[in-house]
């Protein structure tokens, strides 16, 4: 099965081609089924590949697809690397992708761009699979760029709305800024090691000088910052909520944004070798986590809260990567994919029930009306808050424990971010599902549970969020940590925890108690004392308004980057383009016109003049003949 790993990205590609060319002619049911089946087929093959890999001792399997770039000094074959890391990601992408495809059949049911949606979704899955399967940095980069493209297409899916288009452009441009760093990193790798194939580069990693390795690691991390929405390249993610909710679930929660994590784990040897780089990663991660969590506290749009939550959780994952807890980060990627996709899909279900309303101030008391959505979202919220025994508890705790080992200060900041997470997630839950309904009368009548195509994925993801923790049970409980053992051969310089059992127990208890305390506080605030979010900005106090306005970061970027760029491009337009280049082109035209107006007097219409010029010409030629004898 490993030999046929090339089939995995092939199925979504076929789905893309069929839906792309014939989508309009197919019925909606058929179009959605083809798209979902292609992902399911990939999932089946992924499971087969995964099972086969578990049985093998040699974990590094290269599958050659075709010979791609073949010149004298540069040979880059199109190969896939099937190893523990890529198989885990394969399962996440195809599994959750499949569930979201099923969900989309219900969610996008009334949309006329139905086939186009599935075309883009399939294309996205194709590129994401390329990203994780590639055996060299170039294929990963192709997948990287491709998912950026699909993200643009899907965010701006309802392209008739200019604001959505702007959000899509913002996402793409910010991604590209990160990609510059990524590309420079790849070039530096090639220059230093003479190859960009993973197997070759990582084996020879120590041949590079310390400063080169640091530079490579930092440049690659810049790429990850753009793709995975870390400070300062994170502002595109909240705006990306303009896309349909399944898009937010798939791309901006479970898969594309985890590409940065994947890439850092893949290149873990560089980060293990360079303390500067891994410390940078950890600090950026934890600051992002805390920063985004504070913004999430004041948001009132259900999807924006989840968006900031994603940025914050990604920050936690990068914190884990920065302290060397690579398998913990991958574990958190997995559990996060479960509960964040669940939360987004649940939010979509809520929005569907509310007839398109996304403001939680207009919701309330929905738990009786949309029971399945409520229960699954409750599960998701508990999971993300890190309450035992749900999956989020295990993965988050692992990261925090490794962080404490590295630096107690970072641990404290991580804890703060986690507690804020619990706060704003339960705030979302209480305001949406409990209390009295605060919307309009028509909305109240419209409230209904979503069709089973939408609720079944919710239920599946809820089950996964509950039991997902078994993938990485803590070692000090004398339980097997499957994820850690699985990724052993991929992490080239592991650092093991030096904490005593007592410390680990303390940290774990602190985390759970902290979360429970925050949840109780939130309960008091929103349920007992019925605090409501302000109806409009004027009611906020200055510090609250600062955070509600997202610390004015967008406005800052506008002022510092966009305005100078606009100014420069204005100069280029008014001066260079209009005056110099247009002047040149118009000048040529004017010159021809001038010459023409001079020459045109030769055509006087006077026959005598013509005969005279003829005669003079002949005389001239004869004279010349005699002169040049």
């Amino acid at each position: 099965m490993i030999k046929s790993a090339a089939l995995i990205p092939l199925f979504p590609l076929i789905g893309f081609i069929i839906n792309g060319f014939f989508g309009k002619k197919l019925s909606k049911g058929l179009s959605g089924t083809i798209a979902s089946l292609s992902i399911f087929a990939s999932f089946v093959v992924s499971v087969g590949v995964f099972m086969e890999l578990q049985g093998l001792a040699q974990k590094e399997n290269v599958v050659n697809v075709f010979s791609w770039i073949n010149s004298d000094t540069l040979k880059i074959p199109f190969e896939f690397l099937v190893d523990p890391l890529s198989t885990v990601f394969l399962l996440i992408i195809t599994g959750i992708g499949f569930l979201i495809h099923i969900y989309s059949i219900g969610y996008m049911h009334d949309d006329e761009g139905f086939a186009r949606f599935f075309t883009y979704l399939n294309l996205f899955v194709f590129f994401m699979l390329l990203l994780v399967l590639g055996n060299n940095f170039l294929i990963t980069f192709v997948g990287w760029e491709g998912v950026g493209l699909c993200s643009y297409l899907l965010i701006g899916f309802w392209f008739k709305n200019t604001a959505y288009n702007n959000a899509a452009k913002k996402a793409f441009v910010m991604n590209r800024i990160g990609d510059l760093g990524f590309l420079l990193g790849i070039i530096l790798i090639f220059v230093t090691y003479g190859s960009i194939t993973y197997t070759e580069v990582f084996r020879n990693a120590s041949l590079g000088s310390s400063s080169t390795v640091t530079a490579i690691a930092l440049l690659l991390f810049i790429g990850a910052m753009g793709k995975s929405a870390q400070l300062p390249l994170y502002t595109w993610l909240p705006d990306a909520m303009a896309g349909p909710t399944p898009v937010s679930a798939l791309i901006h929660a479970a898969t594309m944004v985890t590409a940065g994590i994947f890439m850092v784990v893949r290149s873990n040897v560089f980060y293990s070798m360079s303390h500067v780089a891994s410390d940078t990663v950890a600090v950026v991660g934890v600051v992002t986590a805390l920063f985004a969590a504070t913004i999430g506290v004041f948001q009132t749009d259900i999807k924006k809260i989840l968006a900031y939550s994603t940025v914050s959780q990604l920050g936690l994952m990068f914190l884990g990567l920065g302290v060397g807890a690579y398998s913990s980060a991958v574990f958190h990627v997995t559990t996060h994919a479960f509960f964040k996709a669940l939360l987004f899909l649940g939010a979509g279900s809520v929005i569907h029930a509310m007839g398109g309303e996304q403001d939680i101030r207009k919701m309330g008391g929905l738990k009786g009306k949309i029971k399945i959505t409520f229960v699954t979202m409750l599960i998701g919220t508990i999971a993300i808050s890190g309450i035992f025994p749900f999956s989020g508890f295990f993965s988050k705790d692992e990261i925090l424990a490794h962080t404490y080992d590295h630096s107690p200060l970072l641990w404290l900041l991580g804890m703060l971010a986690s507690m804020l997470t619990a706060f704003y997630m339960f705030r979302l839950l209480f305001l949406t599902f409990y209390g009295k309904f605060r919307g309009t009368h028509e909305q109240e009548h419209h409230l209904h549970e979503s069709p089973s195509s939408m609720t079944i994925p919710l239920i599946v993801l809820a089950i996964l969020s509950v039991v997902g923790g078994v993938l990485g049970l803590p070692e000090f409980w004398h339980m097997p940590n499957w994820m850690h053992n699985n990724l052993e051969q991929v992490i080239l310089r592991p650092n093991y925890s030096t904490l005593s059992h007592a410390t680990e127990w303390t940290l774990m208890t602190l985390a759970v108690c902290g979360a429970l305390a925050v949840i109780y506080f939130t309960y008091l605030m929103f349920m007992k004392y019925k605090v409501k979010p302000a109806d409009n900005e004027e009611q906020l106090r200055p510090w609250q308004r600062l955070i509600y306005k997202k610390y004015y970061v967008d406005e800052f970027y506008d002022f510092v980057i966009r305005k100078p760029l606009d100014g420069i491009s204005n100069v280029f337009y008014k001066f260079f383009d209009k005056e110099i280049i247009d002047g040149l082109v118009n000048g040529v035209g004017a010159a021809v016109k001038g010459m023409g107006s001079g020459v045109r007097y030769l055509q006087s219409g006077n026959i005598g003049f013509y005969v005279m010029s003829m005669t003079l010409g002949v005389v001239f030629i004869i004279l010349l003949t005699f002169l040049y004898k």
């Binding site: 045109r600 055509q603 006087s604 219409g605 006077n606 026959i607 005669t615």
Partner: protein, 103 residues
């Protein structure tokens, strides 16, 4: 020396006639005069050809003159036909009025 007159004289006469004809074609507006000048040029050439033919005692020159005369006659016929058409169109034979292709 032909009949006691130097060949230069024939050359000169022929040239003068040709130039008169050429200038006439360039400068005259009346179409009939234009045709006459063209004929003048042709006949100047005829004269020269015959003179040299007698000088070199070669008959080819005079044979060529026959050809030229035949062609001149045909050309006059065509030319007068064109003149008639022009007159029908602009009721005049002034070539200055034929300026529709101007600028």
């Amino acid at each position: 020396m032909i009949n006691g007159i130097k060949i230069d004289m024939y050359l000169l006469l022929s040239t003068v006639l040709f130039i008169i004809g050429a200038i006439g074609v360039m400068a005259r507006r009346n179409t009939i005069i234009l045709f006459m000048c063209i004929e003048l040029m042709l006949n100047a050439v005829n004269l020269l050809l015959v003179a040299f033919s007698v000088l070199h005692k070669d008959a080819s020159g005079q044979v060529f003159v026959f050809f030229i005369m035949a062609v001149a006659a045909a050309e006059v016929a065509v030319g007068l036909a064109i003149l008639t058409m022009i007159y029908r169109n602009i009721k005049s034979i002034d070539t200055d009025l034929l300026g529709n292709l101007k600028n």
